[in-house]
Amino acid sequence: MKALVWHGKNDVRVERVPDPKILNPRDAIVKVTSTAICGSDLHLLDGFIPTMKSGDILGHEFMGEVVEVGKGNHKLKVGDRVVVPFTIACGSCFFCERQMWSLCDNSNPNARMVEELYGFSGSALFGYSHMMGGYAGGQAQYVRVPYADVGPMKVPDHLADEQVLFLTDIFPTGYMAAENCSIQQGDIIAVWGCGPVGQMAIASALMLGAEKVVAIDSVPARLRMAARLGSVETINFENEDVFDRLKQLTAGRGPDACIEAVGLEAHGATLDAYYDRSKRRRSSPPIGRPRYGRRFRRAGRVGRYPSPACTGAFSTRCRSAPRSARA
């Protein structure tokens, strides 16, 4: 089959590789019909994430048709159309039983590597470095899905790929950020970053009943797209002071909750951005640049719990990050 293969910093190639096989009883093989590039793939592309090896197959957002099923998998059958979540979950550990799939205890064969770095390991991910499990990803014609009787969702025929593909990662990531805000009637939610995750977070916040969302970014096209989602005010942080404007938009009270949808490798030219960059050079594995995570902490209103909701990839060590959550 053909697959997108990582060979080093800024070096990925479409190559012929062997087809995947069933390796464990609960596996399934999926023939990929649609796949997406995630913002977090950029951290792999530019060599920011440790424990990548030349030859690794990328891709963690994909869907397709089941073409082979392991003998221990009683949920899927050949011909099923499925969309596959990027987090691999066993379905029976402490965390999976509580629907915290991304914290699955069992799916990562290399959990030891993450434990050495972070203390605890979350679930394995498709195509996202060896410390995250080393599983071959789905930017390929075929992919092996472990524990395929847990994660994959069957898709009815009347829905097109484009309508459901975002269920792999980007929609739940944005949705969980909004969910973490415990949105109540009348709430104004501020969202930093209007890339794909930010757009999903904004749409989710509105869906969950926010009175208004304030979308913050510097790219006019993204702000325009956000404005079309409904009751949305936009702030271009290059033209306006975000803190002052947020106060203005909330009658001086501050947003009821803030969502960070920028993530690991934020751009910018402020003092703390340079601080993060200087840290990064001196450390290995690299330290993230969570400057937006720090920024929103100041902006959110007092007396609100839970306070800020983080999303996006904070997968390397982020010193000085308020809270990092992998959604």
Partner: protein, 220 residues
């Protein structure tokens, strides 16, 4: 609680490390020889090792090495006990073991893949067996390796599964020297135990041990 005083090995490691640092620094500054940097770095590593007080750095005492690890598993104690009662299945979760076979009458024959591809074998006998609670064994006299081990199964708090606690005391091939070498090279027995418990948990909770062995990849 362990203290530094209880471990003569720690003192030896710290003093040896300090000596290496001084020696290395002298070589570097007086003779301008780069090997000095290597000596100093090694010395610093030894000092760091000696200062570690976590359970991973337990050293061989007079009665060999004692390691203890535990994990919570989302299954009933009797299911977990049943796996261990059949010792022949142990190599599934411990790849360091080549085989474990029943030798009749509470005895079993163990073959291990020791370091540097040496095979070590020994006989063990069950010395305690309380269904759903405890299994304990020790090597019989005349074995290459002297060891004793136990696995306890205790119900955790409600909804938190079973706590599996494994204790292993052993005198490895090469005696204290072998342990010390393994320790220096980071092949720590407690890490081996932790990985065995992880695979045990994976197998008991999900019915399989996750793997990527045999999946496709591009040219390295």
């Amino acid at each position: 609680m362990e203290t530094v005083m209880e471990h003569p090995e720690r003192w030896a490691s710290a003093l040896g490390g300090a000596a290496l640092v001084v020696w290395g620094a002298q070589k570097l500054s007086r003779e301008r020889r780069p090997v000095g940097a290597l000596l100093a770095t090694t010395g610093a590593g030894l000092i760091w090792r000696s200062a570690r007080t976590d359970t991973r750095a337990r050293l061989a005492g007079p009665r060999g090495t004692l390691v203890e690890e535990s994990v919570a598993i989302n299954r009933a104690p009797e299911d977990l006990y049943a796996f261990w009662r059949n010792l022949e299945r142990l190599p599934t979760i411990m790849p360091q073991l080549a085989s474990v076979e029943s030798a009749g009458d509470r005895r079993s024959h163990w073959v291990a893949n020791a370091p540097a591809r040496w095979r070590t074998e020994w006989y063990a006998e069950l010395i305690n067996d309380i269904p759903s609670q405890l299994i304990a064994w020790r090597t019989v006299e005349g074995s290459d390796l002297v060891s004793a081990g136990s696995v306890h199964f205790e119900p955790g708090p409600v909804g938190r599964g079973t706590v599996v606690r494994i204790r292993l005391q052993y005198d490895p091939p090469g005696g204290a020297l072998g342990t010390a070498l393994a320790w220096v090279f980071g092949d720590e027995p407690s890490q081996v135990l932790r990985e065995a418990l992880r695979r045990f948990k994976q197998l008991m909770e999900t019915g399989e041990i996750p793997t990527t062995e045999g999946q496709p990849r591009g040219q390295r």
